[in-house]
């Protein structure tokens, strides 16, 4: 006969805020996640959480990430905001954690497929972010010409979604824009990205009017590469690391699509607290878009206000629409 | 300079390799160091050259003309030596040829010779000086070799000559030679010994380890004999000793030379192994041989004549391009050693023990039973106990000295390793055994035992093809002697077991019928391997003195 699994995390609900210890676990070290640190600290003071921590030691290895999460749980953390290294596997991790009585949020990326086993997923819609980026690139190109897409690990379903998003934007251009090449697997290190960009520009620099990048290292490399080659190719980058923002300011980057990591960390922690203290999701597994924003030279100084507004809005939406606290 | 070692002790796990050895080496002598396999000769040499640190005893160097004025250091006077490594020994003026070959395979001949004292200018190798040095040493040995050739491409004999040249290059006052002639022909050995005598006459000390007592008696002045790690005779004048006295010292008991009578072989018996006009990709042309059950066919020739390669062709390791191979009267094609062993019961004891014969890092028992695992296995599983039974049989029969079945083969002395390499084929229970240079580096008693064993195997009905460059050995053992030269058979003689007559006939065959026929030499080198011809420069002498 099969014994019921004991709830190691204690009762899932009914804690006080001070008993809630939130761990924010990114997939590995990456500039994108750095705002989570501050967001966690802010959430702790704002909502009176017992503890928040930020642990990026997963090193882009799903096995290690599972290990890290379990270690954090053993340390007494009972609510988790997780960016799954492998979107295909992460639902199993979520299920396991929930079985053991922990609150889980999928942050910054949702599991692959249509099912989300976490309580909710608060992330950029990667496909739509890529779509927006491609749109921005096409606009910068003047609505026609050849476009190249540079991105990361091809055996990651998020990469697949980005490819779909870019393709969609290109399709919508009605044949005036051609996606000449999609280069994957150049996010491992900056040198590979630089090499790929140099080769690309050497091979068809003059025929490429736009480059849309949906991964960090390729974005940095493309901005620098185009600038160095003195080409008029338009580069659209991803995120708002200061290197990229510098590129926007000096014109080497036409636009960047920023996401809302602060909002994910902050609101994510908040909702995890709410769930731990007795609220439930009206619709478990709900996917919420944390917003993506096209930043150009015009709004580079002000986009953050827009983003903060979005964060406030998100929190309110959870309070009023998504959570039921009885 | 005079080197005195007192009460040296060296312990290896499970063995006291040296257990109180004293040796006194005086200038201007050739000092023979004798002993059976595993007696500790190589260990002593390694201590004298800083390779091993002794666990006890002292090494003392007495400079020339030293007047020992009762110095504080100790009785015999002089300076006590503590070698931190081989380099220290070199600095002290000690040069050595180790028993194992120690060359850098990818380096050229010249560079290997000069390795110990690389001539340099401003941190760079002075290549002209390297060549000069190497050339000088080779010239002293009267050997011609391509200085720029990587030693990996040389034959075993050539490598050994490079080793000797390398030891000469250090210009040392004390030269230690650990079986320097094991892969050399008698002519090459003679050249070497001429050099040794010259060095002695210059006032240097030469220590010679050899199992070839004829050579020892011909060249050495004094002798130290080791037995079981102890020096049982120290610096005796060799002139006062007979061969059998020396052997008695080594063996530790009275010893009789073994007389091996001729075997009676039925000439009508179906040949166990027959080669019919075999030509190979390796260059053999029309080689025909017959070995019958119970018969030993000696295959003599100079090193490099192509005998080992012929064996390889029989085993399917080299391609036979034409001709037929018959086993037990039936034509066969052999594709691998495994097939030769399991389907045709042919075994091959390689001449190249270290590289091809044994597994240095494996246990002794695995080394012996590797050929019979298929028979020992039950359900694919081999049990240690059944292995040990097999091993025990051959340990006794061959007198292999080991500390236990789990000892690593690499820890055995050279001679015992050679026995392992034979034991594996005895265990395999073959009908035909090709034995290649079986007694290189083997002491007299073991050699005699080996000979007895080989004869016994033949008497038991085994067909044996004995490849050997040791003429006395061939004459002792073989029923017939085939002679090979430049990958061709140049003749076959029935053995009458009289060394004087047989050696004359065989050596004439080797050198193309008549001694002075330079034309025959030249003609042969057109067809065969010209490189190997360079080894035979100098006046050909029928080498081996009668015992």
């Amino acid at each position: 006969s099969k014994r019921a699994t004991p709830a190691a995390g204690g009762s899932a609900t009914g804690k006080t805020a001070a008993q809630v210890k939130v761990a924010l676990v990114p997939g590995g070290p990456h500039p994108y996640f750095q705002p989570w640190k501050g967001a966690g600290v802010q959430a702790k003071t704002d909502f009176g959480l017992g503890e928040t921590t930020f642990n990026e030691t997963s090193g882009w290895d799903q096995t290690k990430q599972n290990d890290v999460i379990k270690s954090l749980a053993a340390q007494g953390y009972n609510a988790f905001g997780i960016f799954g290294v492998s979107p295909d596997n992460i639902n199993s991790t979520f299920t396991d954690l929930e079985k053991q009585g922990f609150q889980v949020a999928s942050l910054a990326s949702c599991p692959a497929g249509n099912k989300n086993a976490a309580a909710f997923c608060l992330s950029t819609d990667v496909e739509s972010a890529a779509y927006k980026a491609a749109k921005a690139a096409i606009e910068a190109m003047g609505g026609k010409g050849n476009l190249v897409h540079l991105t990361g690990n091809k055996v990651d379903s998020n990469t697949q979604r980005r490819i779909v998003g870019v393709q969609k934007a290109v399709d919508e251009a009605g044949g005036k824009v051609v996606l000449v090449q999609t280069i994957t697997d150049i996010d491992v290190d900056l040198q590979s990205a630089q090499k790929a960009v140099a080769d690309l520009l050497a091979a068809r620099g003059k025929d490429v009017q736009g480059i849309v990048t949906t991964a960090y290292n390729p974005a940095v490399a493309a901005a620098a590469g185009v600038k160095q080659a003195g080409l008029s190719t338009k580069v659209v980058a991803i995120d708002d690391d200061k290197t990229i923002l510098a590129g926007i300011s000096d014109g080497s980057v036409s636009a960047t699509v920023t996401q809302n990591p602060v909002g994910q960390g902050y609101v994510g922690s908040y909702v995890l607290m709410k769930l731990s203290t007795g609220c439930t999701m009206k619709q478990p597994g709900l996917v919420v878009d944390s917003g993506s924003f096209v930043v150009t030279k015009a709004n580079v100084a002000t986009y953050d206000t827009q983003r903060q507004a979005r964060t406030t809005e998100l929190k309110k939406a959870f309070d009023t629409d998504y959570l039921s606290c009885g | 300079m005079r080197l005195i070692a007192t009460d040296l002790v060296k312990v290896f796990p499970g063995v006291r390799a040296l257990d109180g050895v004293t040796i006194d080496l005086r200038p201007g002598t050739v000092h023979a160091l004798l002993g059976e396999n595993g007696a500790g000769k190589s260990t002593l040499i390694k201590i004298l050259t800083g390779v091993h640190k002794p666990d006890g005893g002292t090494l003392r160097l007495v400079p020339d003309g030293w007047q020992a004025p009762g110095d504080a250091a100790g009785g015999a006077g002089g300076r006590e030596l503590h070698f931190g490594g081989p380099a220290d020994a070199q600095l002290a003026g000690i040069g050595v040829v180790h028993q194992e070959r120690n060359l850098v395979p990818a380096f050229s001949v010249a560079e290997n010779i000069a390795l110990q004292r690389m001539p340099r200018s401003r941190g760079l190798v002075d290549r002209a000086a390297v060549r000069r040095l190497a050339q000088g040493c080779l010239a002293e040995l009267e050997v011609e070799l391509d200085l720029d050739r990587p030693v990996a491409e040389l034959s075993v004999a050539q490598m050994q000559l490079v080793e000797v040249a390398k030891a000469l290059a250090t210009d040392s006052r004390l030269l230690l030679l650990d079986e320097p002639t094991s892969a050399l022909t008698s002519e090459e050995s003679d050249h070497l010994y001429a050099v040794v005598r010259r060095l002695r006459d210059q006032g240097r000390i030469v220590v010679l380890v050899s199992h070839k007592l004829e050579e020892v008696f011909a060249v050495a002045d004094t002798v130290t004999v080791l037995r079981d790690g102890r020096s049982v005779a120290r610096g005796l004048a060799l002139g006062n000793l007979t061969r059998s006295q020396v052997v008695d010292l080594m063996v530790g008991r009275a010893h009789a030379d073994i007389e091996l009578g001729a075997r009676s072989v039925d000439p009508r018996a179906t040949p166990a192994l027959e080669l019919e006009a075999v030509s190979t990709a390796g260059g053999h042309r029309d080689v025909s041989l017959v070995v019958r059950p119970g018969e030993i066919l000696g295959l003599y020739g100079l090193v490099g004549a192509g005998r080992s390669e012929l064996a390889r062709a029989v085993l399917g390791l080299d391609t036979i391009t034409s001709g037929r191979l018959l086993v037990g009267g039936r034509p066969v094609t052999i594709g691998s050693v495994g097939q030769a062993l399991r389907e045709h019961r042919i075994g091959y004891v390689t001449e190249n023990r270290k590289e091809e014969g044994i597994f240095l890092e494996q246990t002794v028992s695995r080394n012996v039973t590797v050929t019979v695992w298929d028979r020992l296995a039950r359900w694919g599983v081999v049990r240690d106990r059944s292995e040990d039974t097999v091993l025990a049989r051959y340990v006794d029969r061959l007198g292999i000295r080991l500390s236990g079945p789990r000892q690593l083969a690499g820890q055995l002395s050279g001679g015992n390793q050679q026995k392992l390499s034979l034991a594996k084929w005895l265990a395999a229970d073959c009908a035909v055994l090709i034995i290649d240079e079986p007694t290189v580096g083997i002491d007299v008693r073991t050699k005699a035992a080996f000979h007895e064993l080989i004869a016994e195997l033949a008497e038991g009905g085994l067909a044996i093809l004995l490849i050997s460059s040791d003429l006395p050995e061939v004459v002792t053992l073989a029923d017939r002697i085939a002679v090979m030269r430049d990958h061709q058979l140049v003749g076959e003689v029935d053995n009458d077991h009289h060394y004087t007559t047989m050696s004359g006939r065989v050596i004439r065959l080797v050198h193309g019928e008549s001694q002075e026929s330079g034309a025959a030499e030249a003609g042969a080198s057109e067809t065969g391997a010209p490189e190997t011809g360079t080894l035979e420069t100098g006046a050909p002498r029928p080498g081996v003195p009668a015992a």
Binding site: S71, N89, S157 | V382
Partner: protein, 360 residues
């Protein structure tokens, strides 16, 4: 304890010679000269230190059970590398052999709706075939195994991505066969006969135990394993002793492939999906476990028990440092340092043993 450990260790597999020319398998050495004892000591010491610093290190559900599941995978990964280290070869394609095998399993589940065990067999079969292919290329061409498996890894990387793009909508199979989730998350403790429940051991653990025993027996007792070791020890001598060296090389690589298949399947079960990223991070652990356990890169000697201990050591270090919650940079540094110290302790032990015995 030490005595039983040493004796089982030395019975279970041929021991590895020391890196120095002198071997430690000499007689008359103290029991602690056995490398496995050193490893056990290091593991015990680390466990003591970590559980002293963080009592949660001994938490059954959150630490010990997941650790066992990890060790299960990495022991098999280590064995996969060990299978070719026995020859003195390397298999750099371990990650992608695992990925391809996992694809095969996922394919049978998703497309053929096969039961769990059929997918396992498919994974093993595919792994074996790819491994044999690697071995075949190595023997037929005589090219170094490092190069062949490196190139093969590249090739398979592309192939796996292509296969997933052909047969799935993304890069993973979404369907889970029956029993997969139970196998992943259950322990024997979840199954009770009346009041008695099993130990808190994950259901996957016995699979690794079987692999360990089979590989151990193979290399210790079987003719096949011994002949492979002989080939690793001296290929020329092996050939001249009638061992079919080419066949043994192919068999060792096939075994490596088979174990890669098993490891890939186990990881997919553990992580919950058959995806293209299975095995991505296998390469370093595959070397770490056997080498920490005393298997030489030179071939001719392997240590199966050592591989288990190496995998455990590796896992303990990871887990302990995770619990100590270092930043990512410190974590890396400490892992490296602890590895170095663990290895050097082994060396200290050698030196002491040599003092007791003799100098090399």
């Amino acid at each position: 304890m030490p005595d039983t450990t040493t004796s089982t260790a030395s019975q279970a597999e041929p021991e590895a010679p020391a890196p120095a020319p002198v071997d430690q398998r000499r007689r008359g050495l103290p029991w602690w000269a056995n490398p496995r004892v050193g490893l056990v000591a290091v593991v015990v010491a680390l466990v003591a230190i970590f559980s002293g610093l963080r009592p949660s290190f001994l938490d059954v559900d959150l630490t010990l059970v997941p650790m066992q599941a990890d060790i299960t995978v990495f022991v098999v990964v280590g064995l996969a590398q060990l299978a070719v280290l026995s020859l003195g070869h390397m298999n750099l394609a371990v990650p992608r052999m695992a990925a391809l095998s996992a694809f095969a399993a996922g394919f049978t589940y998703d497309k053929l709706h096969a039961p769990l065990v059929v997918g396992l067999l498919a994974a093993l079969l595919v792994g074996t075939l790819v491994g044999a292919l690697a071995g075949g290329i190595i023997t037929w061409t005589g090219v170094n195994s490092f190069v062949v498996t490196l190139a093969l890894d590249f090739g398979l990387l592309g192939l796996v991505a292509l296969l997933y793009s052909w047969f799935t909508s993304g890069v993973a199979f979404s369907l889970h066969p029956d029993g997969m989730d139970a196998l992943r998350s259950d322990t024997f403790n979840d199954y009770c006969a009346g009041p008695i429940c099993g130990p808190p051991v994950p259901l996957v653990v016995p699979i690794a135990v079987v692999a360990l025993v089979v590989v151990g027996v193979l290399f210790r007792f079987s003719r096949l394993g011994r002949e492979i070791l002989m080939c690793g020890s001296n290929a020329r001598a092996a050939l001249l002793s009638g061992i079919p060296v080419s066949r043994r090389v192919i068999q060792a690589h096939a075994l490596s492939g088979l174990l890669c298949g098993l490891a890939g399947w186990l990881l997919a079960i553990n992580n919950g999906a058959f995806s293209a990223s299975v095995g991505e991070n296998f390469l370093l652990p595959s070397f770490l476990a056997p080498v920490l356990g005393g298997t030489l890169l030179a071939g001719g000697a392997v240590s199966v028990v050592g591989t288990l201990l190496g995998a455990i050591l590796n896992s303990v270090i990871q887990k302990g440092l995770n619990l100590l919650q270092f930043e990512v940079d410190q974590l890396q540094i400490y892992i490296g340092v602890v590895l170095l110290v663990a290895l050097s302790l082994d060396r200290v032990r050698h030196v002491l043993a040599d003092r007791r015995g003799v100098r090399p």
